[in-house]
């Protein structure tokens, strides 16, 4: 279907060379800075730094970028508008809130754009001892998502062949979509059951300690990447304090 939904191997971009664990840690570092304050300067610095990484994740085409981030931008924009209209945050405060949302979500966009889900699962199981049952199980489930999207179309057409269709009535439309979703869910559960059987048939439930064929290595550049993220967070906070805008969320007793 659409490119944003394809969950196959990620393209080889510069950011792919950073271990997914390092990317997650870096995201945690900047998120902590973002969550600690309510001002607009801190998130502005963080978002600027994150935007600099877009080319490294291969996200240079504005159309691709928009396709991947429009729900995020829409959400952030709505939040800002709501805060201006209903809240007492003021224009600058609302901008800060929107920037924080973008700053928190962009690392996820970067990770998805540059990282093969298999590599992420490898890194999580190798370095952070994630249970393979969860990590590999999620991978298997992820493979089924694009299939669901294709099946949604088919089931919708199939309903019309039975004389069932919503027309222009929004209530009927919602009920129809709910019905289709249920049909898909039933199918997905059945397929997942068969997939689990096939996985166990290849020894997934053998109880033997699983090895990892690809491995996952943490290199110097991964440490540098995390250090860089910590530096960005520090610069953001410092700038904010120096500019006199620093507004900590938790004011110490």
């Amino acid at each position: 279907m659409t490119a944003s939904l394809s969950l196959g191997p990620a393209p080889d971009v510069p950011l792919s060379r950073i271990n997914p664990c390092a990317q997650v840690l870096a995201a945690v570092a900047v998120s902590l800075a973002l969550l600690a304050t309510l001002d607009a300067v801190t998130p502005a610095v963080v978002v600027a730094a994150e935007l600099c990484l877009l080319p490294a994740a291969g996200l240079t085409d504005p159309r691709t970028l928009l396709l991947r981030t429009w729900p995020l931008l829409l959400g952030a924009g709505t939040l800002a508008v709501v805060n201006v209209v209903l809240g007492d945050a003021g224009l600058l405060g609302a901008l800060g809130i929107a920037l924080r949302v973008v700053g928190l979500a962009l690392p996820g966009v970067l990770l998805v754009a540059s990282t093969d889900p298999v590599r992420l699962a490898d890194a999580l199981t190798v370095h952070w001892r994630f249970p393979p049952r969860v990590a590999v199980g999620s991978l298997a489930a992820l493979r089924l998502v694009p299939l669901l999207v294709a099946e949604f179309e088919t089931v919708q057409l199939a309903r019309r062949t039975r004389g069932v269709e919503a027309g222009r009535n929004p209530v009927a439309r919602a009920r129809l979509v709910a019905g289709i979703a249920f049909t898909l869910l039933v199918g997905a559960v059945r397929r997942a059951g068969r997939l689990a059987t096939a996985m166990d048939a290849r020894g997934f439930d053998s109880g033997i300690r699983r090895t990892n064929a690809r491995g996952s290595v943490l290199r110097a550049r991964d440490h540098l990447f995390v250090a860089g993220a910590v530096a960005v967070a520090a610069v953001a906070v410092t700038t904010s304090v120096l500019a006199g805008t620093w507004a900590p969320l938790f004011v110490g007793g």
């Binding site: 969950l7 093969d116 493979r143 089924l144 019309r160 997942a192 020894g203 300690r209 064929a213």
Partner: protein, 425 residues
């Protein structure tokens, strides 16, 4: 060895038992079953499985990673895993690299990869459960070619379970048929009776045109290559038109256009004036309730079309939706249940039926509104000989009753026996 037999004879249960997949709490097991002298569940390390649905067997996003999956589970170190992955890929005749994304593969190639994944674990016994049932003839040929390589190259015992015996015969030494009352072993040189043998179908004389495509083509939004090049054809009353051709030529897309489910992006699909709804002759503009009384459609996968929890309700749905009274709808449902031999299951859930029964039910639901045109996508796909004959007879009866039937199909036998006209894409 090949295990064959009609749908519902117990082949798949036998397969599940051999593979150690029967849930001991849900099944009542009598007798004894052994793999290398052990119960199958304990001998699972020595079994390799290949089942029907390729998408329910692949785990990873890249081909090599998927083959490695079973070896990782066995706790082997990476330096042992990768040579064995390459080995297994070579054994099945894999033509791409390890990095090939699995989602870009055709059904046949996916099954080839699943087979490599099973082989990599070096099983003593390969169990195949209708591995080509969801594939078109080209995909099925890919799988059989891969299996043939494996059997020649290794001393693996092969057990195939399939109702369609003929294509496997060159690969197997023994053929066993599951019948009611037990197993029958066929002598060497045995071949199944051709499914079309002795079939006598009611004849019909072609009537006026009911539905036509005039240079109808279709291109998906956001793509440049058309899914269907401009195509013209006429469906006449009391005829069966077969739409044939290799994969990717737009056969199923043409079926969607004829069925009024999609609007052609070039050209037009028009019904005969007597079928028009308030002057509108283009089926895709009709309301669903009007559509079902004019054009009946049967999809490749019956489950996609089921909407209710009982067979009886399923058959009443179309008539009710198109404005029939409940008494008429009930009478129509009873009649169809009786005629298609589904009366004993009238209160059963459609999802609990066997594949062949589901297929008959999905045709019956389309017939419930007595449409003038019937559009079917691969109606004989994955059907055993008995269901095949029932289905062909049912379609011939509809033709004799004046229905204009269009069938998209890869099935040569169906075209030979039933089609009055063939449109090759």
């Amino acid at each position: 060895m090949l295990v064959t037999g009609a749908s519902g004879a117990g082949k798949s249960t036998l397969f599940a038992a051999l593979a150690g997949l029967l849930d001991p709490e849900a099944a009542e097991v009598t007798g004894e079953l052994a793999v290398d002298g052990e119960p199958p569940a304990a001998a699972r390390d020595r079994l390799g499985l290949l089942m029907q649905d390729p998408d329910a067997q692949l785990v990873m996003t890249r081909a090599g990673d998927d083959v490695a999956f079973g070896l990782e589970n066995a706790g082997l170190p990476p330096e042992v895993i990768w040579p064995r992955v390459d080995d297994a890929l070579a054994a099945v005749g894999w033509r791409y690299g390890r990095d090939r994304p699995t989602q870009a593969l055709s059904g046949g190639e996916k099954q080839r990869l699943v087979l490599a994944g099973a082989l990599a674990r070096r099983p003593g016994l390969l169990l195949l459960d209708e591995p080509t049932a969801q594939l078109d003839p080209a995909g099925a040929a890919v799988v059989r070619e891969a299996v043939a390589r494996v059997v020649v190259a290794r001393g693996t015992t092969l057990l195939v379970v399939d109702h369609d015996a003929a294509p496997w015969l060159p690969l197997v030494d023994r053929v066993v048929e599951v019948r009611e009352g037990g197993l029958v072993e066929h002598p060497p040189g045995w071949a199944p009776v051709p499914r079309a043998a002795g079939l006598v179908l009611p004849a019909a004389t072609a009537g006026p045109a009911r539905l036509g495509a005039e240079q109808a083509g279709f291109t998906y939004r956001g793509t440049t290559t058309p899914a269907l090049r401009p195509t013209s054809l006429q469906l006449h009353a009391s005829t069966v038109t077969a739409v044939t051709g290799p994969n990717g030529t737009g056969k199923s897309t043409l079926a969607l256009l004829l069925a009024g489910l999609r609007a052609p992006t070039t050209g037009a699909v028009r019904a005969a004036p007597e079928l028009a709804v308030r002057g509108e002759r283009r089926p895709h503009r009709w309301r669903a309730g009007d559509l079902v009384t004019r054009i009946g459609t049967v999809f490749q996968q019956p489950e996609h079309q089921f909407l209710t929890g009982r067979l009886r309700d399923e058959l009443e749905l179309g008539p009710l939706r198109s404005g029939s009274g409940s008494a008429t709808a009930r009478a129509r449902a009873e009649e169809l249940l009786e005629r298609l031999g589904l009366a004993p299951f009238a209160d059963a859930n459609p999802f609990t039926l066997s594949g062949g029964q589901q297929r008959r039910l999905s045709v019956a639901t389309a017939l419930a509104t007595a449409p003038a045109v019937l559009v079917l996508d691969e109606p004989t796909f994955g059907q055993d000989a008995a269901t095949w004959r029932e289905l062909v007879t049912l379609l011939a009866e509809q033709r004799a009753a004046g229905c204009a039937v269009a069938a998209v199909t890869h099935d040569r036998d169906l075209v030979d026996v039933l089609a009055d006209a063939e449109v090759g894409l």
